[in-house]
């Protein structure tokens, strides 16, 4: 337990020293700010675009556009930033050999995986919450709308998708060696999941649904109950990825 706490502390310190925590917070801060602003300014931007013979008419934006921008930014750019920041979370240390001494000091291999995942999860939660709070406040300021149905549940779904992505990143970083192999494997897994999402019959079992139904939830075109099964499956898959990481790293030759 001492080892787990000490290593968790070291992980936090490392993310602060190498500016990864700062980058993550800054990027998500920008997402929170820019989403409602873009939604508000979209008609104005388009009105300045003069394309001959073409008239672009855009309806007056609402808070829904602001949330639509927000979810789009997080599911696209946000996830890419998460992948870039956390890919190689374990393989980088294995390549450099920095884990040898701490493991020789008696740190359990399970503690390494758990500490790294916990820190990644905490940073994701803080930066995502920051973006969501800023987006919420700024949307309210610009659009005067306070309430959106299922907003918290919708935000939770996207957060859980991030939790799942981090578990996949942890697993691929354990399975592969080198800095980029894990990133490629994660991208391949996400590619497969996105392809699966094309088929309506299995769509609801796919964690990707948690990141593609957020607007449908706040516009009440999708109900909470329809995504419950996806939530359980995502939780199970995240646990499975972590379990694989623990087992594989336990048997990894150093």
């Amino acid at each position: 337990m001492n080892g787990l706490l000490a290593f968790t502390k070291k992980e936090f310190r490392e993310h602060i020293y190498n500016y990864k925590a700062l980058i993550l917070l800054a990027v998500f801060f920008v997402f929170g700010m820019i989403s409602p602003l873009l939604a508000k300014m979209m008609p104005e931007i388009f009105s300045h675009m003069s394309i001959e013979g073409l008239t672009i008419t855009i309806t007056e934006p609402t808070y829904i556009e602001a949330y639509s921008q927000f979810f789009k930014n997080i599911t696209q750019m946000g996830i890419i930033v998460i992948l870039l920041i956390f890919s190689g979370i374990l393989s980088r240390e294995l390549t450099r050999g920095t884990l040898i001494i701490v493991l020789a000091k008696g740190l359990s291999r399970h503690a390494v995986i758990l500490a790294k995942y916990f820190v990644a999860l905490t940073l994701w939660t803080i930066s995502y919450s920051l973006a969501a709070i800023i987006n919420f406040g700024y949307t309210f300021y610009l659009f005067g709308q306070f309430y959106a149905p299922n907003l918290l549940f919708s935000l939770f779904c996207l957060w859980l998708f991030g939790v799942f992505i981090l578990a996949v990143v942890m697993m691929t970083s354990t399975l592969t060696s080198g800095n980029y192999a894990g990133l490629l494997l994660t991208a391949a897994i996400l590619g497969i999941l996105l392809t699966i999402n094309i088929f309506p019959t299995i769509k609801k079992f796919n964690p990707v649904s948690l990141a593609s139904n957020n607007i449908a939830l706040i516009t009440n075109t999708k109900s909470v109950s329809e995504l419950l099964i996806t939530i359980w499956i995502t939780l199970a898959l995240s646990s499975f990825c972590l379990l694989i990481s623990l087992i594989v790293f336990r048997r990894k030759k150093l």
């Binding site: 001492n2 000490a6 502390k9 490392e14 920095t98 001494i101 701490v102 493991l103 030759k253 150093l254």
Partner: protein, 305 residues
């Protein structure tokens, strides 16, 4: 008391038998030199002791506890200095040692005290520089400090002096020498003069096989090759003299190079005088006549022939 025991260890990498039937014991309060050429299997053996690599067969015991691959429980008895120690470069040495102490489960007050002591011992006290700015020698010294942090019963050093300059080597050997008063050391190297300086017991590993192990002085005496070095006044040694030397029953080898003759004898104690007699009889002028001390290098080279 046995601190470390390796029982019939085999390690295969595909078809390559990296370690072959290695049985080895290290007793308490000894400095055990684990000698071998590069690629002999020293690092592989050490990684198996640390539980970082699984042996293909055989068992390893540290302080009587079985080492299980992937498990780190037995490592609480060990301080380990890898051949190229890698640290978190953004940390200061104190911070790194504190992290190691916390991982080892020590109390904060104990850690503070121990960190100060160890930094003083390895000559890094007062160094206000991040580890990323350390030289190779400083990193090795920090490596020794972290290895000693948990007051290990066994200190394993994997080639700690190989990549250092003579001053760095001297410093590390002095630290190890000091440390050997309190703990057992297993020290791998291919630099034999380092072994002669600090080790009392040795094991020679060649192509994955332990070809000899035991007390350094005993091994030296058992495997000694008695050698006499003669430097002649004349550039050319008469061929007849060399032939006479070779014909002597106690001479095993005669090597001639310019005006120097190296003679290997089977027994120096009784026969050295015969060589002098022959030199006098043949009236060969001599500049230097020296009985060479048997070195570990000679023993090593003889053993791995």
């Amino acid at each position: 008391m046995e601190i470390l025991r390796l029982d019939h260890i085999e390690k295969h990498f595909g078809d390559v038998r990296a370690i072959q039937d290695l049985t080895l014991t290290v007793t308490a309060h000894s400095v055990f030199g684990f000698i071998g050429k590069n690629g002999a299997g020293k690092t592989t053996t050490m990684k198996m002791i640390m539980g970082f690599l699984p042996p293909s067969s055989g068992e390893i015991y540290v302080c009587g506890e079985k080492v299980n691959y992937g498990d780190t429980k037995t490592n609480r008895h060990i301080g380990y200095l890898p051949d190229v120690p890698e640290f978190y470069g953004y940390m200061f040495p104190e911070q790194y040692l504190e992290l190691c102490g916390e991982i080892a489960g020590q109390k904060p007050t104990q850690i503070k005290k121990k960190v100060t002591q160890l930094l003083k011992l390895v000559g890094l006290k007062g160094v206000r520089r991040k580890i990323e700015g350390f030289s190779r020698g400083m990193k090795q010294r920090l490596g020794i400090a972290q290895a000693l942090l948990n007051q290990p019963k066994l200190l394993i050093c994997d080639e700690p002096t190989s990549a250092l300059d003579p001053i760095g080597r001297k410093e590390i050997l002095e630290i190890l020498s000091k440390v050997s008063e309190q703990t057992t050391i297993l020290f791998s190297t291919h630099i034999l003069s380092d072994v002669e300086r600090i080790c009392d017991r040795i094991g020679i590993l060649d192509q994955g096989k332990l070809i000899v192990q035991g007390n350094l002085a005993e091994i030296r005496s058992t495997y000694r090759q008695d050698t006499i070095l003669i430097e002649l006044a004349d550039q050319n040694c008469p061929a007849s003299f060399a032939a006479k030397l070779r014909s002597l029953p106690f001479v095993s080898e005669v090597v001639m190079k310019e005006n120097t003759i190296t003679i290997h004898l089977t027994d120096i104690t009784k026969k050295a005088g015969k060589i002098l007699e022959l030199l006098a009889r043949e009236q060969i002028p001599v500049i230097k006549y020296e009985v060479l001390e048997p070195s570990l290098e000679n023993v090593f080279l003889e053993m791995i022939k």
